[in-house]
Amino acid sequence: MNKSQYSIEVKDIVKEFSSVRVLDQVTVGIKPGEIMGLIGENGAGKSTLIKIICGIYQATSGTIFLDEQPCLLKDYVSAKKLGIAIVPQEFNLINHLTVYENIFLGNEIHKGMFLNKALMREKASKQMTALNMSVDVNQLISKLSVAEKQMVEVSKALMLDAKILIFDEPTTTLTIKEVKILFDLMKKLQSKGVTMIFVSHKLHEIKTICDRVTILRDGKLIAIEEIDDINEEGIARQMIGRDFSQVFPPKIERIDGDLILEIENLNINNLLKNISFNLRRGEILGFAGLVGAGRTETMEAIMGLRKRDSGLIKINGKEITINKPQDAVKNKLGYISEDRQGKGIIQIFDIPKNMSLISIKKYKKGLFIDKKKEDNKAEDYIDKFNIVASSKKMELKYFSGGNQQKVYISKWMDTNPEILILDEPTRGIDVNAKREIYEFIHSLAESGISCILISSEMEEIIGLCSRVYVMKEGQISNCITGSAINEEEIMFNATGLKGKI
């Protein structure tokens, strides 16, 4: 293949964060009008690579060629000027601005000295119609649903008339119908010659939309394959580096355990409706559903982090009151949030301080903290969870996602919970840490601690749980067990639609 055919090429890209190498000599070329899939486990380096392509990060070494010209991307603004745009994974929308104001943010159309609001509104609503979205462009962003926000984010990137368009896991928050609209749009753009990079870890999506796929694992380029030459299992094997079946420990079935937690008719106005479920001792109970189905909200309500309008909580058959998080901790409940950095750990605290944040009373000697005891306990957790840190006194912001997560888990384990709720516990962490966390959840359950696992990664739910509640639009739509725990059944209950896309 002739090299001049590439519209963008990254060559020998290396990226290090405080001397941890997250990308190692990655070279990829993408042809004009091609949709290149970029796949890899969390922590494989997908996001880092595309952030380098749009100038948000700078590579430690390596070059980026645009139409064969080496170019220097010092920030996103200069990348935009060269025709590179990104639909980010996390929303960059300003909640108190309207849809059209967000779409044109930083790219406003002027009429003389002033903003040409009429033209911007018109263009924005044309774009939204093209995306089959019936959203008023004068609506505030805060009023939109997650999927609608995603579409606004897409429109924002499209407005830039980019030559190279990057989609960073755009489908995680979309329903199947919306994914289809997005894919149609991508096909249309492709026919106009736009080059696209589509990041995902959903195999069937890659298979559906991409021409070729680049597979990353642990920061290294594993393969670039023509999509027709490889099947989903092949991609998965290259992505994980081993077969799926080895990732998960054997399942634990606890159909006869005592009921430890019972929730009856939990309601939050406009958010949750008649949530009732139960949890057995030593069970791993799954909670599946689309993003925004109310799983996190349910758990937050149980933990006293959200006000309930009604609902009973029983532990060991006895009704208890939980109005604030302190009540939940007293009743031996633990909750590991999906938002590790925003709600989980204190970034500027070291390991011992994070570990003892909830359980600090255990380390008190009179009025003061017994720091020696605290440090020793932290050492225990570092050994137990295999936390990699050059010093336990290092601030957590320098840690990788996986190690941060392990510290976060230590923090809750230190409260000796009997019920542990894990909300997306493997989000943003590398494959090995993931497997360690699966094994940890498994060993917890074996030791008689009851776990609730919320996950949007289907394999996790299927691989770990003996019983799964599926939520849809603030309600529990079904409880499935045994062989019924499969991708199709979960999707059906989560969306009400049969089959995959």
């Binding site: 982090l305 604030k324 998080p325 302190q326 939940a328 901790v329 909750y335 949030s337 925003g342 709600k343 989980g344 750990i345 204190i346 970034q347 500027i348 605290f349 301080k353 003892s356 944040l357 909830i358 600090i360 009373k361 008190k364 009025l367 003061f368 903290i369 720091k371 923090k411």
Partner: protein, 324 residues
Amino acid sequence: MSGQKEIISYFKKFKLKDHAIGIAFVILFFVAIIVGWPNFIKIRNLTNILRQVSYTGIIALGMTLVIISGGIDLSVGSMTVFTGGVSIYFLNTFGPNSILGIVMTIIFSILFGGLCGFFNGIMIAKFRIAPFIVTLGTMSIFRSLIQYFSNAGNILSVNTIYGKIGMASFFGIPLPVWIFGIVAFLLHILLTNTSIGRYICAVGSNEQVANYSAIKVNFIKLIPYVITGLTVGLAAMLWTSRLNCINPSDCAGYEMDAIAAVVIGGTLMSGGKGSIIGTVLGAIMLGIINNMLVLGGISPFLQPAVKGFVIIIAVLLQYNNEKK
């Protein structure tokens, strides 16, 4: 062998920025000796500097906790004069020679300051108003009230002994300096060795994480303001007993000195991290700078300008350090 390794690893880990305040202090001190030769290094001058910085220094100690908790307290200057004035009225009810009156006034003054701080804290923690706004409001309220009570004139104490407290010295070191040291020691222990100190840092760093960690966020946010109120009460007592009177226009700009000391001491303006020892050094450094300006015959009107520059530079250095 291992000892040698430890020494090497110590020097490898030794980062200039971790000790920036200490180093800056030493440099400044030597510069002051040279520039201010021979007057600066005289014991009398040094104790004088310490005495001068201790009033706002004591307040800066409380302010350190407020800033670590993610807040700010602009009302401390007005609060000092308000507390000082009210305590003189209180003292005067006891008659001219009452020792009991003095003891009661000391307690009253500290508690009254605590109460003012409690008011700030409740508004911020319970009613969730921005600290900047609440304390900007009370800054105006406290000053206005004491001006009204005194008709904007001097508030004189009728007690003849009270004035001796503020001028007292032990082992050649003035009383306010002793108190500055003792309060610094206590708050340092509170910050580094108690769960309350730990919680204040956690809340200041990330309130959400603190809430999700079952910390009583509202209660923890209230504490630093109350402590600042108590330190203000102490400073007010020391200030009024020094002159045995107070003028309602006194203590203006105390908030500036206190915040400056905290910032120079390396406490993050964004909250979560800070040090009491840093604040002590920061306060003394400000005093040394002022002293150099005086010894150098620079117009007193320019002194606040220098202070302003020092704050901005300190924050600038902090910000650049954070980025790296």
